[in-house]
């Protein structure tokens, strides 16, 4: 830890800390992290930092909230931020990825099979996957009740960057790659691909 911290640097430290902090950053917390400065110096630096952002009147500013300090976007830009958040592609839930993995490897597959493997109701997830065009109905199974058969779509291949269904790693390969040879690994895989795509 440096012995003396000049004002310029202290402002920089505090700016970085507020930005990286998960919660509003309190003066006590700053004192704990930079112990060689006085509470007065900390308050002075905080006030300077706020002034810098207030005077530049840019997109973000420092606000005192819930006993601490936090960066926020200026309210006049909120409509743009809403636009951005709305347009963000929706991420698949873990349940959806699990179900998708089962359908990918077991297709054509009926819902009851998916639910037998997952151990939970999967109707909602199947519907989401249908809506997002990652799976499609292939037909009906010729058994009593004529349940629907599901399979993956072209969009599925595109989403996960696969050339064809044959490029899916086999369950055995996944087993060799990962310690526990069950659906958990496929989830990891799909999450990996998914995250990368967005």
């Amino acid at each position: 830890m440096p012995d003396a911290v000049e004002k310029e640097k202290l402002i920089g430290i505090i700016e970085a800390l507020i930005f990286a902090s998960e919660k509003p950053l309190t003066e006590d917390e700053i004192k704990r992290i930079v112990p060689d400065v006085s509470p007065r110096e900390i308050r002075g630096a905080l006030s300077d930092l706020r002034k810098i952002y207030d005077e530049s009147s840019g997109g973000i500013f420092v606000v005192e909230v819930a006993g601490g300090y936090q960066f926020r976007t200026r309210s006049e830009f909120s409509e743009y931020i809403k636009l951005m958040l709305e347009e963000k592609p929706k991420r698949l839930s873990r349940a959806a990825l699990e179900t998708l993995a089962i359908i990918a490897y077991r297709q054509p597959v009926v819902r009851s099979d998916i639910e037998r493997i997952r151990g939970v109701d999967s109707g909602g997830v199947v519907k989401i996957l249908l809506e997002r065009n990652l799976i499609r109905i292939l037909g009906k199974k010729d058994v009593p009740g004529k349940p629907l058969l599901y399979g993956t779509t072209k969009d599925f291949l595109e989403t996960f960057g696969l050339k064809d269904l044959k490029s899916l790693p086999t369950i055995r390969e996944m087993g060799a790659l990962f310690s526990e040879g069950d659906i958990e690994e496929q989830k990891t895989l799909f999450t990996t691909n998914d995250k990368n795509k967005t």
């Binding site: 970085a16 930005f19 990286a20 902090s21 998960e22 919660k23 509003p24 936090q70 960066f71 926020r72 976007t73 909120s78 931020i81 809403k82 958040l85 709305e86 963000k88 929706k90 991420r91 839930s93 349940a95 959806a96 819902r111 109701d121 109707g123 909602g124 997830v125 199947v126 519907k127 989401i128 249908l130 109905i137 629907l148």
Partner: protein, 247 residues
């Protein structure tokens, strides 16, 4: 040592300093200031074997690759001792028996350097950090995710906490059964198409009625009459009319 070393030690204890036989060889080449493409093979073999001996003395598990390399070195050494085959020599120049190893070392060195360069970058979460807090913006995020039973129960607890502790008049199960409540609820949701979880309990001051409504809701979800979604953890829970697959 770092986390990966311990991770990997589960299947093999490895020398802490060297990443493998190529790493050890490269270290010896650099230490002696040899040219990778003109290594005095007898000398380097001797030094390599010395290191293997030290590893044995230290009681370290020597990975198979180290022993394979020892055999390779011995093989190259013996080939270097052979007199050049005159007949073959006339047709084409014989390859230096050290060439293959030299190329391997040169290539390994390239990537070792590349790794070193990567390590000097400002690495995220080591040298540089991203915004830590969640975005604070008063906006209803409509990104819907599936809901677990746990989250639903958490929501119920919230409703129960808000309900008065002492109820003026209790509704007994006899007066309003789960079955009846299910019919009411499904009609409500079917009519509106979408509802907010808390709205179910607006007219239910009694704790018993809240629990009854909740149980009825669970039944409806199980029967796939109703679907529930949540935009974000601890966010608003929404109920939708479930659409049958065949529709």
């Amino acid at each position: 040592m770092d986390e990966f070393l311990t991770d990997e030690s589960t299947y093999r204890v490895r020398l802490p300093i060297f990443e493998g036989p190529l790493d050890l060889l490269l270290y010896l080449v650099k230490k002696n200031e040899y040219d990778i493409f003109d290594i005095p093979i007898a000398e380097i073999t001797r030094q390599y074997m010395d290191h293997i001996e030290i590893m044995k003395v230290l009681n370290l598990d020597i990975a198979g690759e180290y022993l394979v390399m020892a055999a390779t070195l011995a093989h190259i050494k013996s080939r270097m001792l052979l007199p050049p085959d005159r007949a073959e020599d006339q047709e084409q120049e014989e390859l230096d028996p050290r060439m293959e190893l030299a190329l391997k070392l040169a290539e390994y060195e390239r990537f070792k350097d590349a790794a070193r360069q990567l390590d000097e970058f400002d690495i995220l979460l080591r040298d540089v950090f991203l915004r830590g807090g969640r975005m604070v913006l008063e906006t209803e995020d409509e990104k819907l995710t599936d809901l677990t039973l746990f989250e639903l129960v958490a929501a119920l607890q919230k409703v129960l906490l808000a309900a008065p502790k002492e109820t003026i008049h209790q509704i007994s199960i006899g007066e309003l059964t789960i079955q009846e409540r299910m019919v009411e609820l499904s009609q409500m949701i079917l009519e509106r198409g979408e509802m907010v979880f808390e709205d179910l309990f607006l007219e239910e001051p009694s704790r018993m009625a809240i629990v009854l409504t909740f149980l009825a809701l669970l039944e409806l979800i199980k029967d796939r009459v109703v679907r529930i979604y949540q935009a974000q953890p601890f966010g608003t829970i929404r109920l939708f009319r479930a659409v049958t697959e065949d529709a």
